[in-house]
Symmetry: C2
Subunit: 199 residues, 2 copies
C-alpha cells in the first residue's frame, strides 16, 4: 500500500529532552526525514553544512523569502533561521514523513500555510522534573533556569491547540507514543480512500 508522506512538527520547552527523544525515534527509520533549517549565521566549529544547518548568505535568505521558499522563518539576535520547503517536499514526494523540530511561533506559520500539518508538543512529567533536568545540564544559572521554567509554562498553554501532547517521563514511553501518533495519522480517511480507489 502506497504511503503518502506527512509533515509533523515537534515542539517542546528547553530541557524537556526533545533531542534525545527524536534521536531514539529516528533509529532505524528510513521512512522519516529530519528537516534541516537554513540560517544566515556562521557555522560553529564542527558544524556541517546540510547536516546541522544549510548555511546561506543573508542575500540568499532574503531571495528565498521573496520566492515564498520557506515554510516558516524568524530572525533571532541578528540572524535568520528558516525551514526550506524544498527538502520537506522532496522527502514527502518519496513517501517519507518530514519531522520539523521548531518552536510554537514557527509551528503557527507552517500550519497557516499547510493546515494538514500535525503538531506534537513534548511536555515534562512535572515542573519539578523539568527544573531538575535543567539544573542537571549545568549550563544555566539559577535565574536563567527560573526564566526557562516560566517560559515552559507559557508554552504549555499554547500547546492546548496542538494536536498531541506527549509527556517525556521516560524516553522509551515518549518514543512509543510518537510512533503511535505517526502511525495513527496515516489512517486518516482522506488518504486511505484515495489508496482504495487505486485498487
Amino acid at each position: 500500500m502506497k504511503k503518502n508522506g506527512k509533515t509533523f512538527i515537534i515542539s517542546g520547552p528547553s530541557g524537556v529532552g526533545k533531542s534525545t527523544v527524536l534521536a531514539a525515534l529516528f533509529q532505524g527509520r528510513e521512512d522519516l526525514y529530519f528537516s534541516v533549517s537554513a540560517t544566515t549565521r556562521d557555522p560553529r566549529p564542527g558544524e556541517i553544512d546540510g547536516k546541522d544547518y544549510h548555511f546561506i548568505t543573508a542575500d540568499a535568505f532574503r531571495a528565498m523569502i521573496g520566492e515564498d521558499a520557506f515554510l516558516e522563518y524568524a530572525e533571532y539576535v541578528g540572524n535568520f533561521y528558516g525551514t526550506p520547503k524544498k527538502y520537506v517536499d522532496e522527502a514527502m514526494a518519496q513517501g517519507k514523513d518530514a519531522i520539523l523540530d521548531i518552536e510554537i511561533q514557527g509551528a503557527n506559520q507552517v500550519c497557516a500555510k499547510r493546515p494538514e500539518t500535525v503538531r506534537i508538543f513534548i511536555a515534562p512529567p512535572s515542573w519539578e522534573e523539568l527544573e531538575r533536568r535543567l539544573t542537571a545540564r549545568g549550563t544555566d544559572s539559577p535565574e536563567k533556569i527560573q526564566k526557562r521554567l516560566l517560559r515552559a509554562k507559557v508554552e504549555l498553554e499554547s500547546a492546548r491547540c496542538y494536536d498531541y501532547l506527549v509527556i517525556n517521563d521516560t524516553v522509551e514511553a515518549a518514543v512509543d507514543e510518537l510512533r503511535a501518533i505517526l502511525q495513527a495519522e496515516h489512517c486518516r480517511p482522506a488518504e486511505r480512500i484515495e489508496q482504495l480507489a487505486e485498487n
Copy 2:
C-alpha cells in the same frame, strides 16, 4: 499516570472481518471494554444474557428510551437494539476504553450526544477481496453478496467523515493500527494538560 477512558466506535461492512480483528485487539487487554447491546428480541440457543446481549422486554426498552439511557438505538425487523449508556460509563469511570461495534447511523447518534467519541471504519483492501470474503463465508446467495457489496461502497462514502479508516488487509496489520489509534488518542492535549495539573 492516570488514564481516562474514552469511547471508540468501530464500524465496517459485512464480510470485512471486523469480529476477527476485534477479537485479536481484545487479547490480553484488560483496559478495554466491549460494549454489549440491549435488545428486545428473544435469545437464540446458546446466547448468554449480558454477554451476547442484554435481553430486555419492549416495555423496559421503551422506559430506557424515555430516560435517555441509550447512546444510540434502532428498530430492526420489529425488534429494538441499543447501546446502554450505563455500562459504557461504568467502564470509562474505571479508566477503560469502551469499544462500540455499531453501524454508521448508530455512530452518528452517539457522536451527536458525545462529539468526543472517536470513530474508526474498517475497510477491505479492495472490493474484489471483500467479494471473495463474502463468497468464502458461504452464507449468502450471489444476489445477496452483490447487495452487500453495493451497501459497503455506500458505507465507505459515509466513512469519509470518520476519524480513521483502517484497512483490513491482514488481521495483524489492522490490529496494529487500531492499537496505535487508541494510544494516539490518549495523547490529546486536553486530557494530558489535566494530568499535568495534578502533578
